[in-house]
């Protein structure tokens, strides 16, 4: 296992796609950096670089303010498929 970990390379998905700017209205693209409960995923799990993590966090916060992405998902206020109308 130790050997395998040695070869596993973390890479930033956004660097590979050469993303320069993210649009907060494009919610489907934010999905990658959100957890099941719509928390922002940490860098150590997604492998994002610092630059793109900073970008995605501001973009997600904008999308939350615009009611495109929920702030929280609790047991009381369950959002049933909030991405359903995204096509």
């Amino acid at each position: 296992m130790a050997e395998r970990r040695k070869y596993k390379k973390r890479f930033c998905k956004y660097c590979e796609a050469k993303v320069d700017f993210m649009d907060y209205k494009d919610v489907g693209a934010l999905r990658f950096s959100l957890s099941e409960r719509y928390k922002i995923m940490p860098r150590r799990l997604t492998g994002n670089c610092k630059r793109h993590q900073d970008m995605i966090s501001t973009v997600i916060k904008r999308a939350r303010a615009a009611a495109l992405v929920p702030y929280t998902v609790t047991r009381k206020a369950v959002v049933t498929a909030p991405f359903e109308n995204l096509r």
């Binding site: 904008r62 615009a66 206020a77 909030p82 109308n85």
Partner: protein, 148 residues
């Protein structure tokens, strides 16, 4: 002059004409404060990720424009007074990279508005279905206070 983008969410309880009227009023606020609207993009009625003032849906409208930075406070003040708006989000496009992105977004929105014929044919059937329940809901809500 600086590039800005405003996303406004209009109340879903209004009728289609009232929504169009309030969207026009919003655009008038921007133009009367010296703004030049580049393009507008109607995202249409859609479900909110969380209820705002007990509303589950909202009419999304995006406006791309250029205006002097000092006018933004006045525009936002006018938006806050407007009771038809559930929410507005103002985004500034300042750095070179952001300006390039802004121009791309404007072009994308222009293309979308230029070729409505194709989209209409595709989305006509589901759109008609989607609008019907909205209209009913609006009618019900309009009736409810009167009944009380």
């Amino acid at each position: 002059m600086r590039n800005y983008e405003n996303l406004v969410i209009v109340k879903p309880t209004l009728t289609a004409e009232e929504i169009q009227a309030s969207v026009k009023a919003i655009e008038d606020i921007i133009t009367s404060n010296g703004g030049e609207i580049a393009v507008t993009d109607a995202m249409g009625m859609r479900k909110l990720a969380y209820p705002i003032d007990k509303n589950e849906r909202g009419y999304f409208h995006v406006i791309y424009y250029t205006v002097a930075p000092s006018a933004i406070t006045e525009i936002e003040r006018r938006f806050r007074i407007n009771e038809d708006l559930l929410r507005f989000v103002t985004i500034k496009y300042d750095t070179n990279r952001e300006v390039i992105a802004f121009n791309k977004l404007v072009q994308k929105a222009q293309k979308k508005s230029e070729t409505p014929a194709k989209e209409e044919v595709k989305t006509e059937a589901p759109a008609a279905q989607a609008e019907a329940p909205v209209a009913e809901a609006a009618a019900e809500e309009a009736v409810a206070p009167a009944a009380e």
